[in-house]
């Protein structure tokens, strides 16, 4: 098992660096145990989640701070994003898989993409008063959305 952890206080910078996260992947990823598509999906989900925090999260009087944690194992990538926002009820915002979305939607695809790419998705409060988004992307995952068109 191999891990990668990085903390950011600037969400714009976090988003910019997530795109090049693959340069710093743990050894298990770099050694080809996890395929490129899984890595790109991981970057996309991290981007969508941090973008979501950037645009919608409430941080009250504190400056935003997040910690990204990535673990590569033989069959999957496991990630968490710890944040100091007020949090929200993810389940109430996640679209149902059976939902029939608008054709060619301009907004609202982010959480749908996150749900489709990931397994074991959760966003929970921690004992320290923070919030933690966690997900797993199996290397044999074959995600696709068939409901946009």
């Amino acid at each position: 098992m191999d891990t990668f952890t990085k903390t950011y206080t600037d969400l714009d910078r976090a988003i910019d660096e997530v795109r090049s996260l693959s340069d710093n992947w743990p050894a298990a990823c770099r050694n080809g145990e996890i395929d490129d598509e899984t890595l790109h999906c991981t970057c996309l989900v991290l981007h969508e989640w941090i973008a979501n925090l950037h645009q919608h999260a409430q941080f009250q009087s504190v400056s935003p701070a997040i910690q990204i944690h990535v673990t590569c194992q033989e069959a999957h990538v496991a990630c968490s994003v710890l944040d100091n926002s007020d949090g929200f009820d993810l389940e109430s915002y996640l679209p149902d898989e059976d939902d029939d979305p608008e054709a060619f939607p301009e907004r609202g695809m982010g959480l749908r993409i996150i749900r489709t790419c990931t397994d074991e998705l959760s966003y929970t409060s921690t004992d320290e008063g923070l919030h933690c988004f966690e997900f797993i992307i199996p290397s044999d995952h074959d995600p696709w959305l068939n409901t946009l068109f």
Binding site: E37, L44, A51, Q55, E106, R107, L145
Partner: protein, 113 residues
């Protein structure tokens, strides 16, 4: 970040997407294509050769372009699609709507036929 647009013919414009099309510059992308839509352009080639990020909002802005030109039988093609963009294309199955070409030149030739 502004988007570079290049006139390929009287009917076709190439937009070089650059490093990223995401929630932070999607409005600028829309302003870029709208200027050409207002001039009567209905064929667009999107050059993704340097693109490391296409997020859901960026894709939404491309849908916006498609909605603007499709009533007039317009076309939007993806050219030189990078790996991160290809993941989004496959995930959302946008290849059903936007024809892909290996290069801008190949798209330009196809549009000229």
């Amino acid at each position: 970040m502004s988007f570079s647009a290049e006139t390929a013919s009287s009917e076709t414009v190439i937009i070089h997407v650059g490093e990223a099309l995401d929630f932070r510059n999607a409005d600028e992308f829309k302003s870029t294509f709208q200027e050409h839509v207002d001039e009567g352009i209905r064929k667009f080639i999107l050059d993704f050769s340097d693109t490391e990020v296409l997020d859901s909002t960026g894709l939404g802005s491309i849908f916006s372009l498609y909605r603007a030109v499709s009533p007039d039988d317009g076309k939007v093609a993806f050219a030189d699609v990078s790996e991160p963009v290809q993941v989004v294309v496959q995930l959302t199955r946008t290849y059903k709507v936007f024809r892909q070409f290996p290069s801008v030149e190949a798209a330009r030739e196809a549009f000229a036929e």
